[in-house]
Symmetry: C2
Subunit: 587 residues, 2 copies
């Protein structure tokens, strides 16, 4: 089974859902038109399909190997990574000044999806490097940018984010790693960091660790954290990697999934590090980067979902089993003919395409927010990020599970491949902030802080789409009716949340994850609905009939099968807080 990048849908999303008109008129992106974007996406698609997708199963089987401080990657990874560097793919969205291609996130999101669908374990390395690049761009000194950015953007070096410690997971205020200023202006960094993705590997010449640590005189808690760059090999004056730094890989984890992505325990023993930006502002910097990283994890969810869907669809077309329930055919048929297999496939497809549609829209908002100074756009982009992360990651688990189910008994056999997605997907609602962390971010920072202003603007935009749908045909009207119901559930929940933000904050947060899932489901359904409108326009113009018909069918399925979940979430929020807060857990 090979992976076929969904180029047509990715381009549909760029063209119709990512605010492309505004993004492409930004000064930074006027060089690129849709044809250029298509050429990039097609080229990257070929690379992912041909070079990367074949690595996924063998990587899962062999896993990254640890021996005496060294990590060896599975066969094939080194060659594929060398190709990745040669083709310059790490440079996609980074500034031309440091060798980047300067494409918008709108295009970058499509690339992240394809690479991670081809092999999520492989995709994690560039994903972390992107994070390091963005951190250095945002907060690094000129000298730091000079030293690190070019080789990182070229992909010759990779980056990591070192946040977690055994006692500090979601609670970064508990970070204990120390950084002590030395006479030469560098810092001696000491401590143990865990869960460091690609913390050690043999794919690049150097690994650039970004480390959250505490200077001796800083305040306790989260406000005393600073960010440091700690290269695995200290960079020589000529820019080449020199002596090994005092950063040791103690072990790598034996994980449920993404087994070809090494997750390291790193020990810093007075390692040489350099302060990034200002002291005590480390957490703030991390949060800036976090938006980008969280968005990418959401896209990984779409990626895993797409791969699981393609695999299940292939199987459902080939596997012949049982006669149809209506008795009209006397022979067994391919199982795709059976209503419940169709239900599962459509659920997979609509959740995947719904996630993609909302991620594309969010990517566009992030591009606009980055280059314009419109506080409403910035706020809306930041509102969308936890939705993309929360919805796409939780739904990826569900989609991968359905993928196993469609395979029946074969799904439980590792060689089939469906189980790998089920294992891989499970990390997505956990890393870069669990679903509850996303929900608290949404509710606390992005809803309550501005008194619900952004959330109401989000709802108003949806209402505008409903008005357009009302003018359409039966399918458009049906989509609109379900969208309106889901939006009502959202607005009623929002009112309740705002009221309880003053009255009963525990009750509000008792409903934070239901609220996140409500908003995420609504956002996906909304963007699919917008897509259906665009598809109808294309159909009316006689363009791509089969594809556009499918876009409308997917949006309708989502509206009728998935949007109704919003009503249940609303009920949970309204009725369920006391039963949640008052229950005991006796021994």
């Amino acid at each position: 089974m090979t992976y076929q990048p969904p180029v047509q849908d990715l381009m549909f999303c760029v063209e119709h859902l990512s605010h492309w008109e505004q993004v492409s008129s930004l000064a930074a992106y006027t060089d690129y038109d849709l044809a250029d974007v298509a050429a990039v996406i097609e080229g990257y698609a070929r690379f992912c399909e041909e070079q990367i997708a074949p690595l996924s199963h063998i990587g899962d089987t062999v896993g990254a190997q640890f021996d005496n401080g060294r990590v060896t990657m599975p066969d094939g990874d080194a060659q594929a990574y060398a190709q990745f560097v040669e083709m310059g793919w790490q440079a996609l969205t980074h500034p031309a000044e440091y060798g980047g291609m300067g494409l918008p996130k709108t295009v970058g999101a499509a690339a992240v999806e394809m690479l991670n669908a081809a092999d999520m374990s492989f995709g994690l390395c560039p994903l972390l490097t992107d994070g390091a690049i963005e951190a250095l761009l945002l907060t690094g000194s000129d000298e730091q940018k000079e030293t690190y950015l070019e080789p990182l953007i070229a992909g010759r070096w990779s980056g990591t984010m070192n946040l977690t410690e055994p006692q500090a997971g979601s609670d970064l205020g508990r970070v204990a790693t120390k950084a002590v200023l030395r006479p030469d202006g560098s810092y001696g960094v000491s401590g143990t960091k865990i869960f460091i993705t690609y913390g050690a590997h043999d794919l690049t010449e150097n690994i650039i660790h970004l480390v959250l640590a505490r200077t001796p005189d800083g305040p306790a808690g989260p406000k005393g954290l600073s960010l440091f760059v700690v290269p695995q090999k200290i960079v020589e004056p000529d820019g080449t990697p020199g002596a090994e730094n005092a950063v040791n890989c103690v072990s790598i984890e034996h994980k449920l999934g993404v087994r070809a992505s090494p997750t390291a325990v790193l020990e810093y023993k007075n390692a040489t590090g350099f302060l990034i930006g200002e002291e005590n502002r480390g957490l703030e910097y991390m949060f800036i980067m976090m938006n980008a990283a969280r968005f990418s994890v959401g896209v990984q969810g779409i990626a895993t979902s797409e791969r699981a869907y393609q695999r299940a669809l292939d199987y459902a077309r080939e596997r012949v089993q049982s006669r149809p329930v209506n008795g009209q055919v006397k022979d067994a048929v391919a199982i795709i003919e059976h209503p419940d297999v169709r239900r599962m496939l459509l659920r997979m497809r609509s959740l995947t395409e719904g996630g993609r549609a909302m991620a594309a829209a969010t990517a566009g908002l992030l591009d606009l927010a980055h280059h314009q100074d419109d506080p409403e756009i910035v706020a809306l982009a930041e509102f969308m990020v936890p939705l993309v992360k929360g919805f796409c990651s939780e739904r990826a688990v569900e989609v991968a599970s359905l993928g196993v189910q469609i395979h029946g008994g074969m799904g439980f056999i590792e060689e089939t491949g469906a189980a790998q997605h089920y294992r891989d997907a499970r990390i997505l609602p956990i890393y870069e902030g669990t679903t509850a962390i996303q929900a608290n971010d949404l509710l606390g920072r992005k809803v309550m802080r501005d008194g619900g202003g952004t959330a109401r603007r989000f709802a108003a935009r949806i209402a505008a789409t409903e008005a357009e749908l009302a003018k359409g045909d039966t399918a458009a009207q049906a989509i609109g009716a379900n969208l309106a119901q889901a939006r009502d559930a959202f607005e009623a929940s929002l009112d309740w949340m705002l009221e309880n933000s003053r009255k009963d904050i525990d009750a509000a947060f008792a409903g934070s994850v239901p609220f996140l899932m409500l908003a995420g489901t609504l956002a996906a359904g909304w963007k699919l609905a917008k897509g259906a409108l665009a598809a109808q326009t294309a159909l009316d113009a006689g363009k791509e009939a089969q594809f556009m018909t499918q876009k409308i069918a997917t949006a309708l399925f989502f509206a009728q099968h998935i949007l109704p979940e919003c009503t249940t979430e609303h009920t949970r929020i309204l009725l369920g807080s006391r039963s949640l807060l008052d229950a005991d857990f006796p021994d």
Copy 2:
């Protein structure tokens, strides 16, 4: 982390939900009172906790090993199995005539849950043996019973069910294994069977395979299947295992979960078998047994859920991370204090206890159905079986996934143990009939065939519970209100299904799984509600205050957080059939 069997809740379910008064007045069970049942359950609990639970993690790590036709079980399994035999646990629910203890299924269900919670891989062996015993009891000749039952019930031999072949999974009509009559009255059985749980292992003296095969002159399709007993070692006239039969284990599967349970490919090369019952009635016999096996798989779902819950609860009590959202405490607290962790724990607990409550009620009905000749009871018992299997197995996947989530990053590390439940649980909605097969069984055989009569009686019983709840306190009334809404959703869906059983059968079956999940969720919520009423009575009598308060809290949480899902399923059924049936899957 050890497993603590939930003896108090199991006894609560027997006493208040399993129709114990009627069951214990059946002639077959008058020997046992509640104190006897408690003694048995407590004894079995101790055995499961002390002897079996410690095997689960090591068994998962090592797995069953295959070498040249022989299967070796993980260390410790042989010793534990010998203990199991010595204590006579296989005999629990089987007739005294063949050495059984003759306890009702009401008690058997509790035992199956505890054994499978302790180690699902281990539990599968006795579970399959139970199936073989029941098949022989129902349809075997006197001589067959004489030969096989005593050693099977003693646990010295184990049993298997051989249905699946590569081309025949859900579609048993495609079974191709042949059975040819020999002059001596035995049959030569030839063919390949796959997915045979405990098809080969080294725990017992003999393995008794029950094999679905086709005689040369039988009709094509499912009506030409007969059932055969094929002992791995042919039984000598003195009853001891003799020469090896021509049944070879070709390989075992490399599976996502239950890795210490060997899943064999068995090759029959003119193996000696004996017809059970009448020719061409094999599928019918299999279906009789299937009710029992499907019920047990549902109970495995409860078991996995309970183990996952206990593990998550332990972790949530110990793991300290972050200050409370209400800002009232300035230090980090155990994560069980955080609202969303409570939400996940309560979801796990209420789904688990809801499944247990409905399984207990169903076990009682199965006991009554087995010993009385009341067609309404038989029909209700048969109606409940797909609900138990469908609900408890699907929910087990969800519960295990929440268990991983509560552990955060640690959940993704295999050594933690949470991931094992997530992997193990995934087989439950697949084997012994996928969820769609359960749903079609429910809708076709148990709802449409009697024009919805049984389904309406089920709803009427729920309405009676609502009337009782209406007389109770605020919590009881709140439970009753949500129960009534869920029952309304069920009855409206039922009307629609019955109408479409005539008008549009495809549309009906397009909603079969939503209908199953609706009915299963409703049944679990109903039985928890009945439990809440019993708990209130106990509280009023001053009994077990902490436990009874918890029972009511769990029922209330289920009513407010999970029963509302029934409304969504109803919407899916009503609105969603055309969008499901009409969508295309273009290349």
